[in-house]
């Protein structure tokens, strides 16, 4: 693997499979333990640099690092010098001087992790940058799909919603292509980027036509505020055309699963009875799988492949 994880495109097929396999090992190593901790990253320092609010992802990374016995420092916007106007470069030099082995960065601007990687010696892990990417989300999604459906090759995945502004969609399209899955993006044309034709995914504007043909239906969060910029006329119309309710869910094949990266807008892109569906919905699993996958990534970036898993 590369020193950094900035984009899902940084991962070869072998790298991606190694992460998924390692995450499985992490799970097994922890299963049945009274103390849910491995000594693997003892003495290593992981900084969670969260310059955009995200309690869910930060908590997941924090738990992952702590389960590997790393020292974790949380550096977030509020209460830090960043809120006083310090530049990303100065923050990077500060973290560097403190000897961070890895920086997990969440940032509101696309490409911020790429810039950070040029200023620190440690590993940089992209935990979501603007409307660009969120590679560990794609890894945990793939992990969840593989567990549920037993394979990645040839898997048919629909990604539905605000593709234009979604870092989850970008990382998933890249990673799923690497792993041999077939992706269909479903959205109103306003929420698909110009240039999407270059992605390794097909595009549809019609959710009902796609649903019967997929193994996975991944719903993306759609912010209600988008309608003030005329991306769609109203929340109700969006929900009617692209929301997944119980009636639509019935169009999916028997074995198909419904995914959502969270946080969900219940009643907007996903109905409550779909989100909470006992057999189809993977929403809660995705969260717990997130910790295992992030452990695997931290381990592979920091401990190296040669060391044995404790």
């Amino acid at each position: 693997m590369n020193r950094h994880l900035l984009s899902a495109a940084d991962l070869s097929r072998a790298d991606a499979l190694l992460v998924l396999d390692t995450a499985e090992q992490m799970d097994h190593a922890l299963a049945g333990r009274e103390v849910k901790k491995l000594p693997t990253l003892r003495g290593r320092t992981v900084v969670n640099l969260f310059l955009e609010d995200s309690t869910r992802t930060r908590t997941s990374f924090e738990l992952a690092a702590k389960r590997l016995s790393a020292d974790v420092i949380n550096f977030s916007t509020k209460g830090s010098s960043v809120s006083k106007g310090e530049s990303l470069k100065d923050t990077a030099l500060t973290l560097e001087a403190m000897g961070a082995d890895a920086v997990v960065i969440r940032h509101g601007l696309s490409g911020a992790p790429h810039r950070l990687a040029g200023w620190v010696a440690g590993s940089v892990l992209n935990a979501g940058d603007g409307t660009h990417e969120h590679p560990t989300q794609a890894l945990l999604d793939a992990f969840t799909m593989r567990r549920r459906l037993g394979r990645m090759d040839g898997l048919r995945v629909a990604i539905v919603g605000d593709v234009l502004h979604s870092r989850v969609a970008r990382s998933n399209v890249l990673l799923l292509a690497t792993l041999g899955a077939e992706v269909t993006l479903v959205a109103p044309p306003t929420l698909l980027p110009v240039g999407v034709e270059a992605w390794s995914a097909s595009v549809s504007y019609e959710l009902d036509a796609v649903l019967p043909k997929v193994d996975v239906c991944m719903m993306l969060r759609v912010q209600r505020e988008r309608m003030s910029s005329s991306y769609f006329p109203s929340a109700r119309e969006y929900s009617r055309r692209y929301g997944l309710d119980a009636h639509r869910m019935a169009l999916l094949p028997e074995h198909a699963v419904v995914m959502h990266p969270g946080p969900m807008n219940r009643g907007m892109e996903i109905a409550a009875e779909v989100a909470d569906h006992l057999t189809r919905s993977t929403v809660v699993e995705q969260v717990s799988n997130g910790v295992s996958v992030r452990m695997a990534v931290l381990y592979l970036l920091l401990a190296g492949r040669s060391e044995e898993l404790a």
Partner: protein
């Protein structure tokens, strides 16, 4: 007043043609021809070098007053001289904005004091570049700076009624409005050319149509009121087509293209290094080819650098937080040799037209852009077409370092620049 030294330039090839000697005396080319001699003259052996009229840049940001940490009139004109320029038009987006006679006269005087290149201020079209009401264009035209080019560059004069009035009003004193063509509603938050790269990088797209729509609108307006229109930094293939159409219809429209839009493409943004962030943004290889063809066939009238110095902290940041703009003065001629002369799209005379004569005439600069013949003002540049150099940001005369060509090897090198018979650059080094 001390007497100006006399220069005898020997063996130089004007426009790459047959070698001649030139005697520069009294600020003019006193004699031109083979085998000349001049008593008391300093001899500059220029065998193998090409002479062109001193270059004229219609679009420079000198940053003074206001951002002297990024550039000053002195450092900017030194960069200009080293790039072969003898005159630059200083854009109005300074702090304070050049929207009054007082500010344009200040910039004009600073240029005279530095003595490295003539500085011709551009006046703002609207007060504070705010796009709401006309600045006192007549007062700027009547000032010592004799402003003839007006531009809100950095901002589009987006209000069509205001643009129409500006186009009409400047006719009274032979002025021209230089439009930064960017429909603001289509480019809110825009970071990069809208296309494959912006989709991949998750950056808000800057659609070509936002430029083309304004050029089409303004060409129609200029035709309607019978005014001149100049279009700044044309960047798309579609814009070239619209300009071609407007010219064929007889609209008095002219346009410029920057060196960087003739060479660089949007895929350079892949690493998110904001040194490649510029407005309008870098486009695609298809656009680059159309711009080169448009400059070659005259659809695009001239080259302008849009030299835009920025302090380090405005570029050492996230892409979205960085200021747009790149340095251009010290590399423009080399980039044009690479993109237009070496591929055979333009000869040296064609290059001189587009980098000197046309911009001088467009901006109403009588002393520049003249043919290298006896009696013409001795504004000229001598360049070595065979030289190659690797661009080193630390070696630039500009106060800023934001060149997109760092580490790139470019052809041709400026060895000497003369401003009214006095060398501002000799042996590739600034003389002041």
């Amino acid at each position: 007043m001390t007497r100006q030294p006399v220069w005898l330039v020997t063996g130089v090839r004007p426009y790459g043609e047959a070698p001649v000697d030139l005697v520069l005396r009294g600020g003019v080319i006193a004699e031109a021809g083979p085998g000349l001699s001049a008593a008391g003259a300093t001899v500059l052996a220029a065998d193998g070098l090409i002479a062109l009229p001193g270059l004229v840049d219609l679009h420079t940001h000198l940053r003074e007053p206001g951002r002297e940490d990024a550039e000053t009139v002195e450092t900017g004109t030194r960069a200009a001289a080293l790039g072969g320029y003898t005159a630059v038009f200083a854009m109005a987006n300074t702090e304070p904005v050049a929207d009054t006679a007082g500010v344009v006269e200040q910039v004009w005087r600073l240029g005279r004091q530095a003595g490295l290149a003539d500085v011709q201020p551009v006046g703002a079209v609207t007060v504070g570049l705010a796009g709401a009401r006309l600045a006192e264009l007549g007062a700027m035209a009547d000032s010592a700076a004799r402003v003839r080019v007006f531009s809100d560059d950095g901002h589009c004069v987006a209000d069509p009624a205001l643009m129409r009035r500006a186009l009409e009003y400047v006719k009274a004193f032979g002025g021209v409005v230089a439009q930064h063509a960017e429909e603001p509603r289509l480019t809110e938050g825009a970071q990069l050319n809208e296309g494959v790269m912006s989709a991949q990088l998750g950056l808000v797209g800057w659609p070509a149509a936002a430029e083309e729509a304004i050029i089409a609108r303004d060409a129609l307006l200029a035709g309607h009121v019978g005014s001149r229109l100049h279009v700044c930094h044309v960047s798309t293939a579609g814009s070239v087509e619209i300009l071609r159409w407007a010219k064929a219809k007889g609209v008095r429209v002219t346009a410029e293209v920057t060196p960087h839009h003739l060479l660089l493409t949007d895929d350079l943004a892949a690493g998110y290094d904001p040194v490649f962030k510029v407005n309008p943004p870098l486009r695609t290889a298809e656009d680059v080819a159309a711009l080169r063809a448009g400059l070659a066939d005259g659809t695009i009238d001239c080259v302008a650098t849009d030299h835009a110095p920025h302090a380090l902290e405005d570029k050492e940041t996230e892409w979205g937080a960085a200021r747009p703009g790149m340095l251009g003065l010290e590399t423009a001629l080399s980039v044009l040799v690479e993109t237009m002369v070496e591929p055979g799209l333009l000869g040296w005379r064609g290059l001189a037209q587009r980098m000197s004569t046309v911009p001088a005439r467009l901006g109403g600069l009588d002393g520049h852009g003249h043919e290298l013949v006896e009696g013409a003002a001795a504004n000229l540049v001598l360049l070595d077409p065979a030289a190659r150099r690797v661009v080193d940001p630390a070696g630039l005369a500009s106060r800023s370092r934001n060149t997109p060509y760092a580490g790139r090897e470019l052809p041709a090198r400026v060895l000497a620049t003369f401003l009214r018979g006095e060398p501002t650059v000799l042996d590739g080094k600034a003389q002041r």
